[in-house]
Point group: C2
Chain length 469, copies 2
């Protein structure tokens, strides 16, 4: 492989091929530090053409390629799998903002631009880029697209897929697909960008994207409500959705125990009242009126009157708004500081949310007594982060030998309700067992046929998403 | 082929295999009556399993299959191509509404349910299905999905693709993909439904779909404005979009000449004032306030003050609203009654709209003098219907020998501006020359690779979308 490294050095700028173990380390280990495999080297190209050349050299030498963005994924999809012979291709140096179109409301950026940089670029131009998630300061747009990331504003704006108008992609044969269109409508053949969005880097390397921007938000109305149960939280979401429509830009559910861990470990994590369940909701408006505030007040007044909500606080200032939003951020942080949990990212049809939570509780009671449940999530998307914590006085390490079994059980509860075992985090290496367990033969065959059609040599991101046949 | 007909009769209900020329005729000819080729027979299955059996029988006998919905497509994608040996598979008898979920806001319908029936089913349940287009009383949901149809509300709700949560599809090998999910988020492998949406029936036969519903609209604010030019219309759209955001649910552009033809031929087509260009806009709200009316009034007042709009009328009643909306419908009707036109359905980045219209005018002046331009379209999507009418005193038939050349020229003007030569109508048979002329080798190769991977025998809808290599 020395040959390949030499060849790569020949075509790339200085310091763009890392071979020392110390230099490679951060690229070889995933965000959650659960997976680590050695790479042949790490390459840091600066142009699409360099990526094309890298692919051709790797293909010729029989090496595989692992595309990597900000390495913030939660399923180890952007780090090497076992098996060796893999080059990590980091998009970190592809970070130009290529174009901004104020009439068409689009921005064209290279894959290595961070999500936060896209948000800031939009804001500086009086627009909004609506995808928002915890790791946005580090996550790169190429990875955000390749994983079809979600986050907290999907219910109004859609996930990352809904923001992408066009892509530039280097294909496994080294050719470049120039699909960087800025069109709202284009029915000329198969919509090829769709197979790369959420494709986890198996079919091509996204090098740039043209993204939709949304009008800037000029008014917010934000509230925290308490409900007696998850049923009440779902009912409150429905009332908000049916009255506010697309103006409902955030609706998060937090169980009482999830909030309690935030409160225990984060200074700003103290909720203004105690409740068995919480809903954090925000309405957004584009005009100058106080319409969304009036709508939020009316829905909450009605919910308090009919008992759907047991308590509610509406932010009266930007400061109070921040204080409420921070409560949601404190929840995963509190869980982590308490010692972590076995994480699951499931989705079910919205009506099945209460019975799914009940089924998880019943599962724990029957099979994993004393394990503790910590649930929060994007209730309007039917997306629950189901975290299983060890019994009091025990650590996560004590649960290690039961982890796979717990995960299989929780995933099965979602799938049995026509749900998803990975709503927004994807498959990567971590959820491969779920693909094998829950996907039909027809579906796996179709996916494998796609992979073979576009990447017959299995050059890109081996050992991810698709279990071996 | 008598054998195949006999075999089909054996597995299908009585009267589900049509072989008489008179019975076949309506299925063999496209909506615009431009394409007609003989089919072996027409089959009218009632279940997904029957469709699976039909595919297997056709594959075994070497016959091809042309899936057909309401046959309202404008590019002859749902009728046989030349070459014979094709069975038309009509989805018309697959018309059950399988499920409605008021909590998840979803409806699950079979492919043969008309678009209007879906809208009405949603409305009867207090919800809205937002895709709307002229042929909605006849167009079937399977065809609307297979062509990723657009219509007049794309700018707020997205095209058909954005409404689809899950699909049931019969594959070219006869297997059924049970992908009828009702989830808002599901990142478990490639998002397979995306290849069938807008796939024009080349990869599988959509037999049922789970669709997103939207909250019912409880308030409308509708206006017609006059502007001095298409530049003014674009500027007015931007002001509406930036102030109203997703509440702007309709924004249509009509040139003065386009409106004049509506007025000349349709009793209800008289605009309340004369202008060089018109914008028909509607804002929609979900609450009970008069917020959208206030927003619309404010934007129009500002546009009248700064000269962007030269005139404006806001509907003051439901009756007046209907009267304004009918003006848009009169435009294509008037054009047809005047004798029709060579039609184009292009899209460009929004900022390129004025120069594209100017370029078409310059093209006509230079190369097709006396031909007359009739433009209208979905300005917020950058989507223009560019219709070229014959010189005064001549008929469309007189232009027949220049039709292909005119179309190539108009399409090229859009493509040269990073636009699309078929924004919402698709390719079918009619736009195949455009695919050959305007698509890159890389893009055509990718599309053909997809087709080969899923339908290696080229069983489904031959002679559509993909020009022969």
């Amino acid at each position: 492989m020395t040959d390949l490294v030499t060849q790569l050095r020949d075509i790339l700028p200085a310091n763009a091929v890392l071979t020392d173990a110390a230099d490679r380390a951060a690229f070889e280990t995933d965000w959650r530090k659960l997976y680590s495999h050695q790479a042949l080297c790490v390459v840091l190209p600066e142009t699409t053409e360099q990526i094309s050349e890298i692919i051709k050299l790797c293909a010729a030498s029989g090496a595989k390629i692992v595309p990597q963005g900000g390495n913030t994924g939660l399923v180890a999809g952007g780090v090497p799998a076992a098996g060796g012979n893999q080059v990590i291709l980091s998009l970190a140096r592809m970070r130009k903002i290529r174009d901004f179109d104020p009439v068409g409301d689009t921005i064209t950026v290279e894959a290595g631009v961070t999500l936060q940089a896209v948000q800031e670029a939009a804001e500086a131009r009086g627009k909004k880029f609506p995808v928002s998630l915890g790791a946005e300061g580090t996550a790169q747009i190429g990875g955000v697209i390749s994983t079809n990331a979600g986050g907290v504003q999907v219910l109004s704006y859609g996930s990352m897929r809904a923001q992408v108008l066009g892509l530039e992609v280097v294909l496994p044969d080294g050719r470049i697909w120039h699909g960087l269109r800025a069109l709202r409508k284009d029915n000329t053949g198969f919509d090829l960008k769709q197979i790369f969005i959420g494709g986890e880097g198996l079919l091509g390397i996204i090098t740039a994207a043209c993204l939709k921007l949304s009008p800037a938000v000029t008014e917010h109305a934000t509230a925290l409500a308490g409900t007696a149960s998850v049923e009440g939280a779902l009912k409150l979401f429905q009332a908000l959705r049916d009255t506010a429509g697309a103006a409902l830009t955030l609706c998060e559910y937090m169980s009482g125990p999830a909030m309690a861990l935030g409160a225990a470990h984060v200074r700003a994590g103290q909720p203004p009242f105690a409740a068995p369940a919480y809903v954090l909701a925000e309405l957004s408006g584009h005009g100058a009126s106080d319409h969304v505030a009036a709508t939020l007040e009316a829905v909450l007044a009605s919910a308090l009157k009919d008992g759907t909500a047991t308590d509610a606080v509406i932010a009266q200032s930007d400061r109070e708004r921040r204080d409420l939003l921070v409560l949601r951020e404190a929840v995963p942080e509190g869980k982590l500081k308490e010692g972590g949990a076995i994480k699951h990212d499931i989705a079910v049809p919205l009506g099945a949310i209460p019975e799914t939570v009940a089924a998880v509780e019943a599962l724990l009671a029957a099979k994993y007594p004393d394990c503790r449940l910590n649930v929060f999530g994007h209730i309007g998307d039917g997306n629950l982060h189901v975290n299983i914590r060890p019994p009091a006085g025990r650590t996560l390490a004590d649960l290690a030998d039961r982890k796979a079994e717990i995960t299989t059980d929780v995933e099965a509860l979602a799938v049995a309700r026509a749900g998803s075992f990975s709503a927004e985090h994807g498959i990567g290496q971590m959820r491969l067992a779920g693909m094998q367990a829950h996907k039909s033969t027809v579906e796996l065959d179709l996916m494998r046929a796609l992979k073979r059609a576009i990447d017959p040599q299995n050059l890109l991101n081996p050992g991810k998403m698709l279990p071996e046949a």
